[in-house]
């Protein structure tokens, strides 16, 4: 899977959980500051990413990820 596909699928998962059009999400968007994720949504996002990519993520490390860019790099480690 190439990086642009990961970016696209991370945005899709984030858009689904945060109810935002993935097209409106920038690559450097911060989940909390720019996209308004609260703590419950952050946990939901981890689940959505696991489902999207078919992997099992380290939840503590996943919750420490702040933005789309970092999230793409983080997910890539599991692929």
């Amino acid at each position: 899977m190439n990086e642009s596909e990961i970016v696209s699928r991370v945005k899709k998962a984030a858009g689904f959980v945060l109810k935002i059009d993935p097209e409106q999400i920038s690559d450097d968007a911060n989940f909390v500051f720019d996209l308004g994720a609260d703590s419950k949504q952050s946990v939901q996002l981890v689940g959505a990413l696991e489902e999207e990519f078919g992997v099992s993520l380290d939840e503590d490390k996943a919750l420490a990820v702040q933005d789309i860019d970092s999230c793409v790099k983080f997910v890539a480690q599991y692929l």
Binding site: L18, V32, F33, A37, D38, S39, K40
Partner: protein, 710 residues
């Protein structure tokens, strides 16, 4: 004038009196801090504009939201940051770009959590400084201003308190919610209510100065866990009390003896951080309370009733036993039962039944109703011999509790003398208590608390009215000589001064020393002893031996040359046996002072308050009796006078049971000189003058032994 680094009113007004507020990081999820802060502002009818900043919501409770604070078109005075800690810096930066000058950072996860949090907090402070933002927090409950023209509830407390004259500052957010709940049940109102959290920018000192000039605040309460700048706190308290007469009540937690454990001198050991804190708060005029109950007991008295002019109280009761209990409590607190005038006694005779006790405590008898209470309380308040009324009630079958509460409340507000009440009981008297509290008559479940509050309010007034005493002028010091001796020790890498260096330092500051010489042999000891005059005392001299008595290094009452020789040999033998590794430089032969009372004077450095001076009953048992008093330097001469009279053993020094009165003026002079030494020579970490022999009046005092650590 407050010190120049203190935040100005203009800097803090955007936080307390904003006309527009942005809740940065608001959410729509009820029961969360970001939502509840927004909801409280709405519910409590904030009188300005509210802008929720919430990138995940288009609106919250029907109010339009903004993705970023910079998107708000209108000017914003105050930003309340409720974002997770990881993005608070970004949010504060945008606030700065928007021109916002006041912020409250509610979010936790900063200094209190460790190194990462410390870095985050530093970052916040740097951004605030860059943009000229003043902020409260982080890690706090928030801020409340009950002023009807503002009605700012920028907190996640459950309810906004009533408006009132009390300003409350707290380092603990959780305590704030407990206090709010407690106060609500007692109808106690607040002017400003501030949880200041980690005080990364705005400190308790800034807030104290703000409340000093706040016309809505008449009494200041503060809860502290640590005092980072004790000297500034003392100065702020002095400024507030002297300029405005507003009392300050403090609840200080964290009583610890860790500092004492590491101390090397008697003063160091006795001057534990809490002892020093206690003394410093008192010295600054702050009323220290041990419990929340006590704090509000005294606050109610001071906020809602006039301060007593004197200690003569009238007790009015419908029950003999509680009257006696109140009498006992009053006397124990230093109050007196007023002697009623003849006119008052006549009024009692006319209004009360023959069985009533018309002397103090006035017993209006168990079947008394409101008319009898009214007559008795009215009469005592009109009596020039009475400084305040303490009203006791126990519920009998015919007692019209609510009516009596009504009458007392009315009388309490008509008089310029304080009226406090104690309706004793629980269920039956509850409705009466509620009336009293609603109408701001201080109520106490037990008379002891009532009398204590009266006494504390009176003491505050007396302290406010006592004139300041000018510092004694001292010009006979030789700072250079003291510095030379201190420099000698530090140059040698020693932290303990030798006897000859101690003599030089103390002499340079005019402290009276007992004559002494150093002997290097038994024969020399005999020679010096004969020259100084018997009796003499001999002491081992070694840099390694701190407590000489403990190792057999001191011999007292030496009456002849022969005894001096054998004492020398004994001291050297004891030192060799008990401290084999110590280098003994000789034996000090000193004229032994007889007939003097032994006291101790000392200096210690406190990390928060600076130089602290101790006075107490001295000798070898000083750490057992712990009968000592402390003051923070510089010390007002009136405080020097008080610190001597504060110890339990003071009567021993003042001629108790046929003893001679000691020369306390000479001791006061020594304390003043020692204070100057402490202030002039900050390299002195600890100092003991123990014993200081105090002779009868006019005959002075002399330093028997001293220890100085640098």
């Amino acid at each position: 004038m407050p010190p120049s680094h203190i935040k100005t009113r203009e800097q803090l007004d955007p936080i307390f009196n904003p006309t527009s507020v942005a809740v940065v990081g608001a959410t729509s999820t009820a029961g969360t801090v970001p939502y509840d802060i927004f909801a409280n502002l709405m519910r409590d009818k904030f009188q300005g504009m509210i802008f929720p900043v919430s990138p995940g919501n288009r609106s919250i409770d029907g109010v339009k939201t903004y993705k970023y604070v910079k998107d708000i078109e209108d000017p914003v005075d105050l930003a309340i940051l409720v974002f997770p800690n990881t993005v608070c810096s970004r949010a504060l930066e945008q606030c700065g770009q928007k021109g916002i000058k006041g912020a409250i950072v509610i979010s936790a996860g900063f200094k209190e959590t460790g190194p990462e949090g410390i870095e985050r907090e530093k970052q916040l402070k740097a951004i605030a400084d860059q943009y000229g933002i003043s902020f409260i927090g982080p890690n706090c409950l928030g801020v409340i201003n009950t002023d009807p023209s503002v009605r700012l509830d920028a907190s996640f407390a459950r309810a906004m308190p009533d408006e009132g004259p009390i300003g409350f500052l707290s380092q603990s957010g959780a305590l704030c919610t407990a206090v709010l709940d407690y106060a609500r049940s007692k109808h106690i109102g607040f002017s400003k209510f501030v949880s200041f959290g980690n005080k990364a920018d705005i400190s308790e000192i800034d807030l104290l100065y703000y409340l000093k000039d706040d016309p809505k605040t008449q009494v200041i309460l503060i809860y502290l866990e640590e005092i980072s700048d004790g000297k500034a706190l003392m100065q702020a308290a002095r400024d507030i009390i002297s300029e405005t007469g507003k009392p300050i009540l403090a609840l200080k937690s964290g009583r610890t003896s860790q500092g004492a454990a590491a101390a090397a001198s008697h003063t160091g050991s006795l001057a534990g951080s809490d002892n020093v804190c206690d003394a410093a708060l008192k010295q600054a005029g702050i009323i220290r309370c041990k419990t929340i109950d006590e704090m509000f007991h005294i606050a109610m008295a001071m906020a809602y009733q006039p301060l007593p002019r004197g200690n003569r109280v009238a007790i009015v009761t419908n029950a003999g036993g509680p009257g006696v209990l109140t009498t006992d409590a009053a006397i124990e607190e230093g109050l007196e039962l007023a002697n009623f005038s003849e006119e008052t006694t006549e009024k009692f005779k006319r209004a009360l039944p023959k069985t009533a006790n018309i002397h103090n405590p006035v017993d209006v008898i168990g079947d008394a109703r409101a008319d009898r209470y009214n007559a008795a309380v009215t009469a005592v308040l009109a009596d020039d011999n009475v400084d305040g009324a303490l009203v006791i009630l126990t519920p009998q079958s015919m007692t019209d509790i609510e009516q009596i509460a009504d009458e007392i409340s009315a009388l309490g507000h008509q008089s310029d003398k304080p009226v406090y009440a104690s309706f004793m009981g629980e269920a039956d008297v509850a409705s009466g208590i509620d009336i009293l509290l609603r109408r701001h008559i201080p109520h106490y479940t037990v008379p002891e608390a009532m009398c204590r509050s009266f006494a504390r309010a009176l003491k505050f007034r007396q302290e406010c009215e006592s004139p300041a005493t000018p510092a004694a002028p001292y010009t006979d010091f030789s700072h250079a000589k003291a510095q030379a001796a201190l420099g000698q020790a530090s140059g040698d890498g020693r932290n303990l001064l030798r006897p000859e260096e101690i003599s030089a330092v103390l002499t340079a500051y005019g402290l009276p020393l007992v004559r002494d010489r150093v002997a290097a042999s038994a024969d020399e000891a005999a020679k010096w002893a004969s020259e100084l005059g018997f009796p003499v005392v001999m002491k081992v001299m070694s840099d390694q031996i701190t407590h000489k008595v403990d190792v057999g290094g001191v011999v007292l009452n030496i009456e002849s040359a022969g005894e001096a020789r054998s004492a020398y040999d004994r001291i050297m033998a004891n030192a060799a046996k008990n401290c084999p590794n110590a280098t003994v430089r000789g034996v000090l032969v000193q004229r032994m002072m007889k007939g003097g009372e032994e006291v101790i004077l000392g200096i210690k450095r406190d990390p928060s308050f600076g130089a602290v001076v101790m006075f107490g009953l001295g000798g070898t048992f000083v750490e057992i009796f712990k009968d000592v008093s402390f003051r923070v330097a510089p010390i007002d001469p009136a405080e020097v006078h008080k610190m001597i009279r504060q110890i339990r053993a003071y009567p021993i020094l003042n001629g108790a049971r046929g003893r001679v009165c000691r020369d306390l003026a000479a001791v006061e002079d020594c304390i003043q000189r020692l204070t100057c030494l402490a202030l002039d020579c900050p390299e002195i970490k600890e100092l003991d003058l123990n014993p200081l022999f105090v002779f009868e009046e006019g005959k002075g005092c002399y330093v028997g032994d001293a220890r100085i650590m640098i």
